[in-house]
């Protein structure tokens, strides 16, 4: 045993003082009374005395001495060493979406927190604590923390995620923690059931038969002024009668009572006449243990398809024709000389067989550039003539390339002359090439704008006469003028693709919880937004000086809707070794309790003696 403040033991000097006072106070009090006759006579009437009554004085003295001793000890703060009593604790806390499910008044996650706090409280001081939360990824909240209160505080501050639980991630995090510290007692707090588990103690917070129904797989079609929406619903715990509601633009337009047999996927569909809609929501109205999976909101993907395009060409016929055919562009054609005096800004600049001295700020198509352009991301080597051969369509498996070449046959495109380029940016993607020389390639130029390069003149190719030209032009236009978002319904844990449109500023996303997520727009033509919450994300940006918002919905993960499921074994490989760690025990709370008890006892003895309470 050691003392934090040994000087506190000086308080023990009060013990002899108390004894002295007791001795002095034990003297008889003298008093003169009119007559002692009755006092002497009282001897005859005195009943048999309680032997304890004679001890009250000494009991009081003992209690007072004990009080002084305990107060002195409490001030000295003794720390008792308990050999090999401490332990290393590693808590793996399942933070997946299903942990948000209600179990009575608390969620499973809150129950898991209480379980962990309970283990920490019961542990001996001197132990160390590690907490790892795991959902689709693992996060070490604290590692080898030795302060109980701090550990408890941090456990209580953790929050459940909404994402899918990843068993491999869970097991991996536990195994890693166990490998790093084989002395650890590993606790897994989860709502999953594990038939077998080794080297780990399961803190099971999963309830059985928690009423839960879920709605997912929402699809829709809006044609002829009729919105046809459908979804699938399922009830997990038992057969259920539920009410499903369709809300369009905030107004409830249809409800339907649906019988959901247990664990059976039941399709639900609605039809609603409306010329236009911004959003609709299908939801199960009935309350259950997990509210987040009861509805999905779908937003109408709106985008401004009118592009302002400037074609700089002496003979811009092909491009003007195809853009007119696609019908989305506001096209203006000027000669290269006229371009020198252009002041207006355009979304897309097409330089057909000419090169600007400086690349404009916007999407750029460079057709047959035979001179190097600053920031264009490539250099011109030579012009190859009299080829008259078929060019090759890229067979890249990259999603990006396949997306740009979707619908393009590309098997019979021939060119007679072409330009060889060198020193291309690595971030450029080749769509067509000839003899390993890129002929049509796209990418982000040195100004951060999307750029398309044709290495040949359309007049010296049959490409402009094929349907592939129209299809590729459409794809390239979508690339040059991408939608800010391509999809409005995701599942939590997915990454939403945010296209960085040229001239877009102040891009940020707001999560359902209200948290602002700032998106890096400095690099690349798109950004990824990790959807960690269930609900509506709002993407805000300023486009050509105008504030614009896009919304997408992150729905609950289907896997997390099922209350419990039998999981594979959870076995940590390795042998647990003894921590050989001495624990400490701070007896201060015990001393304070003792002090209170003694104080009450002393007061009782005082009252017994003073007021003869019997």
């Amino acid at each position: 045993m050691s003392f934090l403040y040994p000087l506190g033991l000086l308080g023990l000097l009060a013990v002899p003082v108390i004894i002295l006072i007791y001795i002095l106070q034990s003297k008889y009090t003298e008093q003169t009374v009119p007559s002692n006759y009755l006092w002497h006579l009282s001897e005859r009437f005195l009943k048999k005395r309680n032997p304890l009554s004679g001890l009250t004085g000494i009991i009081s003295l003992i209690l007072q001495i004990l009080t002084v001793v305990i107060v002195s000890l409490a001030i000295a703060r003794p720390i008792i060493t308990l050999p090999n009593a401490a332990n290393d604790y590693c808590f793996i806390l399942d933070a997946s979406g299903s942990m948000n499910m209600q179990e009575g008044k608390k969620t499973r996650f809150e129950l898991a927190q209480e379980e962990i706090v309970g283990v920490i409280k019961k542990s001996k001081s001197g132990s160390s604590y590690t907490l790892i939360t795991v959902s689709d990824e693992s996060v070490t909240v604290f590692d080898s923390l030795t302060e109980k209160d701090a550990a408890i505080d941090l456990v209580r501050k953790t929050a459940a995620e909404h994402t899918r639980g990843d068993h491999a991630e869970l097991l991996g995090a536990a195994q890693k923690a166990f490998d790093e510290k084989p002395t650890s007692a590993v606790y897994l707090a989860t709502d999953k059931s594990y038939a077998k588990h080794d080297n780990v103690e399961i803190l099971d917070v999963g309830g059985e038969n928690v009423a839960n129904h879920a709605l997912f797989d929402v699809t829709y079609a809006h044609t002829g002024g009729v919105l046809k929406a459908s979804a699938n619903a399922v009830s997990y715990a038992s057969d259920a009668e539920v009410e499903v509601r369709l809300t369009v633009d905030g107004e409830s337009v249809a409800t339907e009572k649906v019988s959901l047999p247990k664990d059976a996927v039941t399709p639900i569909s609605f039809e609603h006449s409306c010329a236009h809609f911004d959003e609709f929501r299908i939801e199960i109205v009935n309350e259950d243990g997990y509210a987040l999976d009861n509805g999905i909101t779908t937003y109408n993907l709106k985008s401004d398809r009118t592009y302002s395009t400037l074609i700089v060409s002496e003979t811009g016929f092909f491009f003007e024709a195809v853009l007119d055919a696609l019908g989305d562009s506001d096209v203006k054609v000027i000669s290269p000389k006229q371009y020198e005096s252009v002041k207006e800004r355009y979304g897309l600049y097409i330089f057909d067989c000419c090169e600007p001295a400086v690349l404009p700020d916007g999407a750029v198509w460079l057709i047959n550039p035979d001179q190097s352009i600053p920031d264009a991301g490539f250099g011109v080597r030579e012009t190859v003539k009299y080829v008259n051969d078929v060019i090759e369509k890229s067979n890249s498996s990259a999603t990006f390339v396949r997306h740009l070449l979707r619908g393009v046959d590309g098997s019979q495109i021939a060119v007679s002359n072409y330009v060889k380029y060198s020193g291309m940016y690595l971030r450029f993607h080749t769509l067509f090439s000839y003899d390993s020389n890129p002929l049509i390639f796209v990418g982000e130029n040195g100004k951060g704008n999307r750029q398309v390069v044709f290495g040949f003149d359309l007049h010296e190719s049959d490409f402009a006469l094929s349907t592939d030209f129209v299809i590729l032009a459409r794809n390239l236009l979508e690339y040059s003028f991408p939608n800010v978002i391509e999809q409005t319904v995701y599942t939590v844990g997915d990454d939403a693709l945010i296209n960085l449109v040229a001239n877009a500023e102040n891009l940020k996303a707001t999560a359902p919880s209200g948290k602002d997520l700032y998106i890096d727009t400095e690099n690349g033509s798109s950004a990824v937004l990790s959807l960690d919450e269930v609900g509506t994300y709002v993407i805000s940006l300023t486009l050509a000086g105008q504030d614009t918002q896009f919304r997408l919905y992150s729905s609950a993960a289907k896997e997390e809707s099922q209350p419990t499921g039998e999981e594979p074994d959870f076995s940590l490989s390795g042998e647990r070794v003894s921590a050989d760690r001495d624990g400490t025990y701070d007896p201060l709370p015990l001393l304070l309790v003792l002090l209170a008890v003694i104080f009450i006892a002393d007061w009782g003895v005082y009252c017994y003696e003073k007021y003869q309470l019997r």
Partner: protein, 294 residues
């Protein structure tokens, strides 16, 4: 300032009261108390045959006219009583708050006034040791009361008091009124002999026990060394706790009941009067209830 303060209004109220005597009065002089003997009062009692030598003025001539025989009317006799008040003047009477002595003197004065108001003779004795010192002797009439009563304030409460010896050696008288003993009776001296002596002399006995608040309900606790005020050599050294106090109260009850029984067995009265109790309550309450006064 004397210890005895009697309110004049209270004295006026006392005149409405009258003492009730149990024994046949045997006073020598006429007074307000009816004797069992026939006398010269105005109250008719009976007839008897006239014998020569009787006062002819008391012959009932109406009866003679009816029965042709002489009958003499008899009237009740009314005698003057001699109230004797014995005051315990020991040191112990000076204790308590208020002091027992104050209550003793007030009661003696009040009784004295009550007696003189009934045209009785009053004597007051202060008992010191075995002597009954006559403080007021044969006081008759209200004028004498006003002149003499202040003598009570001259009584010194010192030493001890032996009631038995003091009363036996004093002039007790016979059958001529109340003998009132005012004391705390907290003594192992045989006061019973004094009561017996008074009863033997056919006096109406009235024992008044005056006790202070502390004596009735002792408050001190813990280890106590108690000295007797009348005997320094007598001490009581004990731890006083609730058991001891209960025993004390039992002893007090035993003592008071014993005095009461002793008095009542001898035709007397007993009254326990706390030193703090008002005279009005005592005289118009306790004593009327006890049928000492009416």
């Amino acid at each position: 300032m004397g210890k005895m303060i009697i309110d004049e209004a209270f004295l006026s109220e006392l005149e409405a009261l009258q003492t009730l005597l149990r024994n046949n009065v045997a006073g020598m002089f006429g007074g307000n108390h009816q004797s069992k003997n026939f006398g010269s009062s105005c109250e008719f009692a009976d007839y008897r045959d006239y014998v020569p030598g009787d006062d002819i003025s008391k012959i009932d001539w109406n009866v003679y006219a009816r029965f042709d025989k002489l009958y003499q009317k008899l009237y009740l006799d009314e005698r003057q009583m001699h109230t004797k008040i014995y005051v315990d003047a020991s040191r112990s009477m000076q204790h308590g708050s208020p002091e027992k002595a104050e209550q003793v003197l007030r009661m003696a004065a009040a009784f004295a006034y009550l007696s003189v108001a009934e045209m009785d003779k009053v004597s007051v004795y202060a008992i010191h040791g075995g002597h009954a010192d006559e403080v007021i002797s044969g006081m008759v009439g209200k004028d004498a009361y006003l002149n003499c009563i202040n003598a009570l304030n001259e009584i010194e409460f010192v030493g001890d008091a032996a009631l038995d010896e003091a009363i036996r050696t004093s002039k007790i008288g016979r059958g001529d009124g109340y003998s009132i003993l005012i004391s705390d009776f907290l003594t192992d001296a045989p006061y019973e002999a004094a009561i017996d002596k008074l009863a033997e002399q056919k006096r109406d006995i009235f024992c008044i026990q005056i006790l202070s608040r502390e004596e009735l309900n002792p408050q001190f606790r813990g280890k106590m060394h108690l000295f007797d005020s009348e005997n320094v050599g007598d001490f009581f050294r004990k731890k006083i706790d609730r058991d001891r106090v209960n025993a004390y109260k039992a002893a007090l009850k035993h003592v008071t009941e014993r005095i009461k029984m002793y008095c009542e067995a001898r035709g007397g009265h007993y009254l326990l009067v706390p030193a703090y109790q008002s005279l009005s309550d005592v005289f118009f309450g306790n004593m009327v209830d006890l049928e000492v006064l009416k």
